[in-house]
């Protein structure tokens, strides 16, 4: 049976995805999976914090390191603030601490992207189950 695409459902799925991006684990929280949300929030924030601790805030550099900045932005839009602070104060990070810091922060972003996709998938399952009941 062909499932109708309702505007409310699309908005709901978009909101779940947006919540997952704004706060890591926020999407799962909206779907009602508090346990998963807690693990995701702790994991993503910890990875990002370790990365910044190793390489300083200079690892988030939207001007000199654009390709690393794109996955870093997947952690949260608040990362843009760090980028602004780095550029404004001219903070630079070099060598191994910078490399490892960039890997940690970018992996945190990629992990959060995976979690956003998973949250939207779970929300879609919830919407489908609700539609079938009706």
């Amino acid at each position: 049976m062909k499932q109708e695409i309702k505007l409310d459902n699309v908005i709901y799925l978009c909101l779940v995805g947006l919540a997952g991006w704004v706060v890591p684990g926020g999407g799962h929280l909206m779907v009602g999976r508090k346990d998963k949300a807690a693990v995701i929030f702790a994991g993503v924030v910890l990875a990002f914090a370790i990365g910044v601790y190793l390489g300083s805030v200079g690892v988030v550099n939207p001007v000199a390191e654009v390709l690393w900045y794109i996955p870093q932005m997947m952690v949260s839009p608040a990362v843009k603030l760090l980028g602004m602070i780095t550029v404004k104060n001219g903070i630079e990070s070099f060598g191994k601490p910078n490399e490892i810091g960039q890997i940690y922060t970018s992996m945190a972003g990629m992990l959060n992207l995976l979690c956003v996709v998973n949250a939207v998938y779970l929300a879609n399952l919830k919407v489908s189950a609700k539609a079938e009941k009706e």
Partner: protein
């Protein structure tokens, strides 16, 4: 969230790090985090023994394969030099 970001922004100096073989151990915490978060998305229930066990198995599998690749590359280097 903004407060956390501003706290993180206070870290202006990179950590001092010696460039030797031990630096690869920094991969371990990242692997554990990746395995834990991945398993949290895959399993239906978290905070139980199965979750901990599967996360540990995935972490050890990734570390094992990385170590294997390192050994293969080391012997390859010995052959070509």
């Amino acid at each position: 969230m903004i407060d956390s970001i501003m706290t993180i922004a206070g870290i202006m100096v990179p950590m001092e790090m010696t460039n030797n073989g031990w630096i690869f151990l920094w991969a371990v915490p990242l692997i554990i985090i990746i395995a834990t978060v991945y398993k949290a998305t895959k399993l239906d229930q978290v905070f139980n023994n199965r979750f901990v066990k599967e996360s540990a198995v995935l972490s050890l599998t990734i570390m094992g394969f990385m170590a294997l690749i390192a050994v293969v590359l080391y012997f390859f280097m010995l052959i070509i030099t």
